[in-house]
Symmetry: C2
Subunit: 312 residues, 2 copies
């Protein structure tokens, strides 16, 4: 069965779609700016659960995941729309009021205005489509496709926290770490960092960590026609994970395949390493010309399978 | 229980949202143009059924309903995104390939380019969010809010055909009219007419017939702070309905409350009636200052309840 990534590639080829394949679509806006647009579909019991997250958490995260897509292009979010498919039991109560409160708490922080949407009843579970518009200086959007062999690979923040938080929510009898749960429920979109990196002019390719590092680095490699080698020892694994909770052998799995940390993953030429010095980022590997995505763990190098969450 | 229209009004007031309330949101684009954006959520077994419509029909209609929103603003559609929540059984087969073929058959006609979207698995039924961008001359978008007492009310095309087609699909033992079924499955967005009306400069308020005439005229009245009186005898009821199928007492019901005809409903000052003379439109009533939506049937005038499809 084809994965969703293969499916999107099939559709791109079949209908000659040139604008598809980055975190946002980029369209010309005016003489100075390009328009960014992204959409993220969130489905109850796949992307969130009502018994784990409050309505405010769900509203917050629905917007956060799309703001992260704008961040990954080095852009500024400006406007948003929400389409909601709502089961009747949620329509009747306070769910939607609290959902919009959570959504607006984040929107206000980024001065994003809600300008439209749709609302429908659904016979099944809650469905949310989050649509965010943004802008970026003309021709300056950071794409997945610019990585070059020899580039250094960086990631912002820490890895694995959101996945460990999800694990705690899935197994509520384990020791509870609010910090990790918050990383799962309230990810922080890296808009300011994305813009800062764009202004520094040092990024060759960028994406946000949504599917998981092992998948997201592959998206950059495929778009750029390059390979990559990731250094396991360099990964900035969230320190809360080992401090609180998990066996050491889970740490790498969380960091590589967990996803949803919504940090920024980018490549820069080796000469720019000093420019990156004062930012909350970590060098985790090198772009290669092998076409393969590999991981180096101690002396051992092996191929890194894309292991994050897959819908299909 | 509040209706979806009350809900949207609540959200607008609560969060001071000024851009919400028309068929599309309007944003400044550049010195000459405004940007239009609309989103429509379509849910299996509410908006379509897989045993009534082919995958191509569903792809076509997903785009058509959003193009109709652009038409209602007098705009030109340019780009689109699609978010799909797909049950596993549909993922495995040819459904999506044929869905995109149907979608592109209409997109090509209007030179609309697919620039993005999202795809997710769903535990329940198929979910489609259709997002379309368009453009219109700056400050020239046709809104719901400009109707004035004394305006004449016009509708394009015919009324009730899509609803009668749905009735046939719901009761497959009745005499089958392909023409009416096609009106349900393959509505034609009135983009050219919407632009023509905008260029004539005669429209004070406009909307498309999606919920049903009785609801859509009310949307115009509420946005404009006016009333309306509709002349039952003037309604251009689809002639196929009585020719083929239905008792006379159903005709008015289809025309008033059926919805999904996707014609354009607009008001113009009385002096402009001659300008409207050569267009496929019918005068169906008058804007009043009563604040009430009424219908005149013979000598009898009564209030017209909004009777189209409601989600809640």
């Amino acid at each position: 069965m084809r994965s969703e990534f293969q499916f999107i590639n099939d559709i791109k080829k079949r209908f000659s779609l040139t604008h598809i394949g980055d975190d946002c679509a980029v369209l010309p806006k005016d003489a100075e700016l390009d328009l960014l647009i992204t959409t993220d579909l969130l489905i109850e019991n796949i992307d969130f659960r009502l018994d784990w997250a409050t309505p405010r958490d769900i509203g917050y995260k629905s917007l956060a995941v799309s703001l992260s897509d704008i961040a990954a292009m080095g852009g500024t979010p400006t406007h948003a729309l929400i389409s909601l498919g709502v089961p009747e039991n949620l329509w009747k109560g306070r769910f939607l009021d609290e959902f919009y409160e959570g959504w607006h708490s984040l929107a206000n922080e980024f001065q994003v205005e809600l300008i439209g949407g749709d609302v429908s009843s659904v016979p099944g579970k809650l469905v949310i489509d989050s649509i965010v518009l943004g802008e970026v200086l003309k021709d300056k959007a950071l794409l997945r496709s610019g990585a070059k062999a020899g580039d250094q690979i960086y990631v912002s923040g820490t890895l694995g926290g959101a996945a460990a938080g999800l694990r705690i929510l899935e197994a509520p009898n384990s020791k509870k770490s609010d910090k990790l749960i918050q990383k799962q429920l309230r990810p922080v979109p890296q808009v300011a960092l994305g813009k800062q990196l764009r202004k520094l002019g040092i990024v060759n390719a960028m994406i946000d960590i949504s599917d998981g590092l092992s998948s997201d680095i592959r998206h950059i490699c495929e778009a750029s026609g390059v390979g990559a080698i990731i250094e396991a020892d360099h990964l900035p694994i969230d320190s809360q994970i080992s401090a609180d909770l998990f066996e050491n052998d889970n740490l790498l799995e969380f960091a590589l395949n967990g996803g949803e940390d919504f940090g920024l993953l980018f490549t820069t030429t080796e000469n720019n390493e000093s420019l990156a010095g004062n930012l909350p980022i970590t060098n985790i590997g090198t772009v290669t010309n092998t076409g393969k995505v590999e991981i180096k763990n101690g002396d051992k190098v092996q191929e890194l399978s894309p292991g994050g969450f897959r819908h299909f």
